[in-house]
């Protein structure tokens, strides 16, 4: 995996969310939420169901437009940009319920992930000029590398929907990594995973961070987030309740009352 821009010095803040609000027909899903993510960190967003986590996630990744507020990615305003443009800029995501391309093979899923980093079009596909063949071979090599990275290389030619659920999650992460992101957003990556798989996931996320990729997790599973996060944002009813290191969050009274106390 390579970071597409080594030359420019990393900005102090990779992603800045500045007092973003978003409502859905009378329901205020997000109210003036701000968030600063420094490069190379793992940032988690937690909160009870309906706290606005997924809305925040969708606003950042371009699926929704915020009603007000700004989203800065590497110093550039990106709110309201189309999803596919953000991917080109280096933002990748996974889905809460895993959305693989079910009819395609495991390797093909990862190849689709490289869409924005390759360029063969209709004419190239029909002509199969030498550069197209080279590009394809390179993409396959990279794809296999990524599958190895998440531990799925043996299943490269299997239909992706035939994989067990836990492996589908890892495949989805590999597919997102294939877009060569700087920032990877994971929507409840641990949901549906058993304890062993969750541990493997934590390990994988650490390794992804070591590659220089910044991570944002929206999570329910406290054991995972507390263990690996550098910073945690707690949302409650669409508003920021607390922000800080895992240790600070664990001892925050408001958090304990609103979230930890009521849920576990």
């Amino acid at each position: 995996m390579s970071d597409p821009s080594e030359k420019t010095p990393p900005p102090p803040v990779l992603l800045g969310v500045e007092s973003v609000s978003r409502s859905f027909g009378g329901i205020q899903a997000l109210w003036q939420v701000s968030l600063q993510v420094r490069p190379g960190t793992i940032h988690s967003v937690i909160g009870p169901n309906g706290a606005g986590k997924t809305t925040l996630f969708n606003v950042i990744t371009g699926a929704y437009k915020p009603d007000s507020g700004r989203i800065l990615y590497r110093g550039e305003e990106v709110q309201g940009r189309k999803v596919h443009e953000l991917v080109r800029l280096g933002m990748a995501r996974t889905f809460q319920n895993v959305e693989l391309f079910g009819s395609m093979s495991v390797l093909e899923n990862v190849l689709v992930g490289q869409h924005v980093r390759t360029r063969c079009g209709f004419l190239g596909a029909v002509g199969r000029w030498p550069w197209v063949k080279r590009e394809e071979a390179e993409a396959r090599r990279k794809g296999m590398e990524l599958l190895e990275f998440v531990g799925l290389e043996e299943f490269a030619s299997q239909r992706s929907e035939d994989l067990p659920f836990g492996w589908q999650r890892f495949l989805e992460i590999a597919r997102a990594l294939a877009t060569a992101p700087r920032l990877l957003l994971l929507d409840e990556p641990a949901s549906g995973l058993n304890a062993v798989e969750t541990e493997r996931l934590g390990d994988l996320l650490e390794r992804i961070r070591k590659e220089g990729i910044t991570l944002i997790l929206v999570e329910h599973d406290m054991s995972l987030t507390m263990g690996i996060s550098d910073a945690i944002l707690v949302l409650h009813q669409g508003k920021k309740l607390a922000e800080g290191t895992p240790r600070e969050i664990q001892s925050n009274d408001a958090v304990i009352a609103a979230y930890l106390g009521s849920e576990r």
């Binding site: 990748a92 693989l100 395609m104 689709v112 869409h115 390759t118 209709f122 596909a125 197209v132």
Partner: protein, 317 residues
């Protein structure tokens, strides 16, 4: 390799079949295969329905027909012009249309198809109206006519072979994977950085071009065209070929085209009951094999294989 077998089969069939009725039937299967193949790229791979594909088929036929009959162009000069016209029209139609999804897209293309049909019928100074456009010249190469019997057969099937070749390559490429991704999950495809609306426009144009090519061949083979060959029911028939053959299956297009070309011929024996039987067959296939014949037969085959190895096989989710 498969391409070679296919080419050999085409060659063998062309050399052995001599009865002109059979040759004609095979030639029409070829033309319909082109239509189905194009639409399958749109429906099967990109998951977008078009209920107006006969419009592009007609555009190809009338385009070359008008150029050659009224303006004295040679067919070979007419071909690029006709394709260019189709390209422009398809692009302009697709641009706003593909923002729609599902039924709405189906309806938009249906509306376009009906308008094209009315134009073919009513612009009689150019199209000859209801009585049709007559006297379209046959294709020829250096004085040798390509439009009768065997020559026509080989011409059409050479085009089919090329189209197969092109489609197989497209499907197994970056573009093809992106199309299949849109079909599986448009949301996830966008999250992979695929500009889904742009890609849909291009695949629409691609499939329109294939339909237009089919129309071009049809016009010069039959040398007479009338609006009824391009009406709503023809659009429906193309969709049916794709679905019956099997969506997202290139070889299914061939199967679907063959079935829907031979079936009506065969149904002539039912005379007045023809429509009843045709409707029933269509419904039955869709009810029992909603994945189309190719997939359906494969499924049945797999199921029987699985039964044999049921004891040893691992549970599948």
């Amino acid at each position: 390799m498969r391409q070679f077998t296919f080419a050999a089969a085409i060659l063998a069939l062309g050399l052995t079949v001599s009865q002109s009725y059979h040759l004609q039937l095979l030639t029409f299967i070829g033309i319909h295969t082109l239509l189905a193949l194009g639409l399958n790229m749109l429906m099967g791979y990109a998951g977008q329905i078009s209920l107006g594909h006969a419009a592009f088929y007609g555009l190809g036929a009338y385009g070359t027909g008008i150029l050659t009959v009224h303006w004295g162009f040679s067919p070979w000069a007419g071909l690029p012009l006709t394709l260019a016209l189709t390209f422009v029209v398809a692009f302009l139609v697709a641009l706003p249309m593909l923002k729609l999804s599902g039924y709405y897209l189906g309806m938009g293309t249906l509306g376009f198809g009906m308008i094209a049909f009315v134009v073919f019928r009513e612009w009689s100074s150019l199209t000859g109206g209801d009585s049709g456009l007559v006297g379209i010249p046959a294709l020829d190469v250096g004085g040798v006519s390509l439009s009768s019997g065997k020559a026509g057969y080989f011409l059409v099937w050479a085009c089919v072979l090329l189209a197969f070749f092109a489609c197989e390559r497209v499907v197994d490429s970056r573009v093809g994977r992106a199309l299949r991704a849109i079909h599986d999950s448009e949301r996830a495809a966008a999250a992979m950085g695929i500009d889904t609306s742009r890609l849909k426009v291009w695949v629409f144009v691609f499939s329109a071009l294939l339909a237009s090519l089919a129309g071009f061949l049809y016009a010069h083979l039959v040398t007479f065209i009338s609006p009824n060959s391009f009406d709503f029911l023809v659009s429906v028939r193309i969709v049916t070929m794709v679905v019956i053959g099997g969506m997202a299956s290139i070889w299914g297009s061939l199967l679907g085209a063959a079935v829907l070309t031979i079936l009506p011929e065969w149904l002539h024996v039912f005379t007045d009951y023809e429509m009843v039987v045709y409707g029933l067959i269509l419904m039955t296939i869709m009810i029992f094999l909603p994945q189309g014949l190719t997939r359906g037969i494969l499924d049945i085959h797999e199921r029987s294989k699985r039964k044999d190895t049921a004891a040893s096989s691992a549970p599948r989710s």
